[in-house]
Symmetry: C2
Subunit: 109 residues, 2 copies
């Protein structure tokens, strides 16, 4: 479950601006603050099932946005290239390799 | 008008996956293929006004997506940093400056 939580945290981070205020609140309580479904239900005076359904729908929406825009995927790719750049910038005489990584970074756009 | 056309081309490029097939077609004819509103209307057997309204609404949607996700804005920022990296990678003894630019690139994420 940790892997899914981590992924959802990232997807929420990238796409939360596209969610409704209610979706944002539920997701934020559930994924960022680690509230249980029951606790969120109590907070909003609705059923546990309603919270569950809303969160499931939002998760699906986030995955659909990622399928369309690939922001998380590209972020991970860029992170790898930036790490490589950092490494190369520490050593001298690696100019060619450095330039190759910069080109890869450019292609990603 | 050229500036708006260029901007719309970019926004369309970044967010077209979030549009409906019809929105995509009209925008593509109008902005990429430079068809007139009248020509698109003829192609789809609808009024010129209907095409105009659809394109205006789509433009507004694209600007709203950009306001929320800033993909075009961040793309431009990264382009500047990548250009700077390229420049620095050509000269030696600029390691510190190179590392600073890499850090800026990282912060942008």
């Amino acid at each position: 479950m940790l892997e899914k939580t981590t992924r959802m945290n990232y997807l929420f981070d990238f796409y939360q601006s596209l969610l409704t205020p209610k979706q944002k609140s539920y997701m934020s309580y559930y994924y960022l603050d680690d509230f249980s479904l029951g606790e969120i239900a109590e907070e909003y005076h609705i059923s546990r099932q309603a919270v569950y359904d809303n969160i499931k729908r939002t998760e699906t929406m986030l995955e659909e946005y990622e399928e369309k825009l690939l922001l998380f995927h590209k972020f991970l790719e860029r992170q790898k290239l930036i790490a490589k750049l950092k490494e190369l910038s520490l050593v001298s005489n690696e100019k060619e390799e450095l330039q190759e990584v910069i080109q890869l970074l450019e292609k990603l756009e």
